[in-house]
Amino acid sequence: MTVSEEPTLYDVLEVDPGSSHEELRAAVERARDTYGTESLAVYALVDEDRLGELRAKLEQAAEVLLDPARRASYDRSIGRIGASTLWAEDDDDEVPLPPVEVAPHARRAELQLETAPEDGEEDALAVPRQHALDLALTDTPGPFGKGPQRSEAGTGSLSEATASSAAPLLSGDWAAAVPAEQQGPRAPAEAVPPGVAEAARAVVEPEPVVAEVPVVARGAQEPATGSVSTIPERRGLPPALGLRMKPAEPPGEIPAAEPPPEALPEPGPRHREHRLRLDLPADAEFNGELLRRVRESYGLSLQQVAERTRITRIHLENVEADRYDRLPATVYLRGILVNLARELRLDPARVSKTYLLAAQRSHAGGSLVSGRT
């Protein structure tokens, strides 16, 4: 049996992809009734983590599918790619994966080797690129775009359940991050009418980029940015990373009707303008140097990251410089790393694990636990 299939957003809500808006709305209501905090039906059924993951995922599905524009975009993303899940999978690495999910990275890497050469401008790439763009432009989270082949409704089963519970779930980030403010000098998205924010961005953020692939459809709902038709590529990145950038995105979204479950982490990445494609190996070992390079690839200053993550700048500097002896105790350091990883769209578990390991190795059980702040 296959347990690796990732469900679509429709699978998450257990609705047919052809459902009307009203049907979707009803499904969302039903899901909230069934899996919400007030629901008896999930009492003592599974542990809170698993439940929290599901709730976050449901909210995410609701956000995308109840917004006609985003839904249309999402539909394109799952409908256009036919049997190939290449690009949907490619998006995987934009969401921090739970620790067990190393495989998707590796799988994606293979696929890329086959069909997606580095940042070339081949025509063949235009279509899949377009798909990736759709997702990015509409702020649709990556991992849900996978696979048009949903498991047959109703008959479904063990594998379906795994997909929805055990398979890589949304790491919280998304649901929390969507309504968050935009990057830099702009005001929080909620406070700014979309049009204004859009205009502001156009003025404020000239991209130091090279045009890469022409973009066609941005959807009628976004006339203001319809002319932004390049995939920005930042120069001078460490070649080993093979970084690719994604273009700007529309301004903030309407917040979810319900507050995200408390299991959700702190604000996620808010710099949607620079969406990073990391071709890091699945077994990448994160040290300060690598984290710095990732940060710089986003064009983020230490100060910006510090403001967003609420990690003090000193800590960030020490993390990037691998000054383990000046970092706080492991328990705090892990929190810092996880936050930082989220901000940088890395797998938090991977980052904290490898970084802490390196710290321990260098220290041989030294002052990591001594708790300096």
Binding site: Y43, A44, L54, S157, A161
Partner: protein, 330 residues
């Protein structure tokens, strides 16, 4: 969750006896229905008794068996004060169950009481349990309705697993829901362990189960773990687990919100454990229910016009509907 060592698993009754529809010579389509729910006081006996009555009135030959070995009172629900012979006679004296079936005053319905006085009768040894199971499986009736006790003791779980229909009763209350899930998980994993042992992959299943500490693994995760080295066994294991298809009844429903609990439980169980559950319906909270219990008269006899009574009839019909040919080929 209660976990059982593999050493205890040997005597789980398999469905070795051919199904009635498979055996050309058989004239019966016999079904065993086990009514459980983990918690006490949730109406298992009330559901069992009235389900039995509803089935009997629909023309089926029904035997009610009080399998609540430590706390039997199904006979009281039916207005029978002191049963002469009980299951303890099967367990301790080797009697046949048929000889113990009592008339209930309702056509087509007999009762085998479980009331016992012997101190150890509530916890029969494995051998006695196996004998009991064997007799239950060959008892002559259209429907055998087992009223299970509370808790997750081995014999309770095994009765639940041997049934064609494991019927789970729960109240829309956290305590009941919690116990019901614990009961279900215990049953599911006993089944898993037993099947895994039969297939010779017990060590794999055990490893998969144990690798997450006390947290529950989903069936799919266990199957997947087994599939890594034993793909064929994994297929059979999955099939066996999928057969674990519980029937749900929500009792004492008072509000519209309570009404939705049944469907929600079915959805949540499916979502997290990947298994189907059949929702048979809700039973309204009804003063008639406790009043008839006090009178020691079955609800369907004494208050047939009550809403709870009509709900119970609906539940019985839903259960019978599952046995129609359409769903026979599981």
């Amino acid at each position: 969750m209660k976990r059982y060592g593999l050493n205890n698993v040997v005597e789980l009754p398999g469905r070795t006896r051919p199904r009635a529809e498979d055996a050309p010579g058989s004239r019966r389509a016999r079904r065993i229905v086990a009514v459980g729910g983990g918690k006490g006081g949730i109406g298992k006996s009330l559901v069992s008794a009235n389900l039995g009555i509803a089935l009997a009135r629909a023309g089926h030959r029904v035997t009610l068996v009080d399998a609540d070995l430590g706390g039997a009172n199904l006979h009281t629900c039916l207005g029978i004060s002191q049963p002469q012979g009980t299951l303890s006679d099967v367990i301790t004296h080797g009697k046949r169950i048929e000889s113990l079936a009592m008339a209930t005053g309702i056509e087509n319905l007999t009762l085998v009481s479980g009331a016992m006085d012997a101190l150890d009768a509530a916890n029969p040894r494995a051998q006695a349990r196996a004998r009991l199971v064997e007799q239950l499986q060959t008892l002559d009736a259209d429907y055998l309705v087992l009223d299970l006790g509370a808790g997750t003791s081995l014999h309770t779980i095994d009765f639940f697993l041997l049934a064609d229909h494991g019927l789970l009763v729960l109240l829309p209350e956290p305590t009941s829901v919690e116990n019901a899930y614990r009961f279900l998980k215990a049953a599911l994993f006993r089944r898993l362990q037993h099947t895994a042992q039969t297939l010779g992959v017990a060590h794999l299943a055990e490893a998969a189960l144990g690798s997450q500490g006390s947290a529950m693994r989903t069936p799919a995760e266990v199957v997947k773990a087994v599939a890594e080295t034993q793909p064929e066994a994994a297929v059979q294991l999955e099939r066996s687990l999928r057969d674990f298809r519980v029937k749900l009844v929500v009792n004492q429903v008072r509000s519209p919100a309570d009404q939705s609990v049944g469907r929600a439980v079915v959805a949540a169980w499916k979502k997290f454990f990947g298994l189907d559950m059949d929702y048979l319906g809700a039973i309204a909270y009804d003063d008639a229910a406790w009043q008839t219990v006090r009178k020691r008269r079955p609800l369907l006899v004494d208050a047939a016009g009550s809403s709870a009574a009509s709900n119970l009839v609906t539940v019985a019909e839903a259960l019978v509907a599952l046995d129609r040919p359409r769903s026979a080929g599981r």
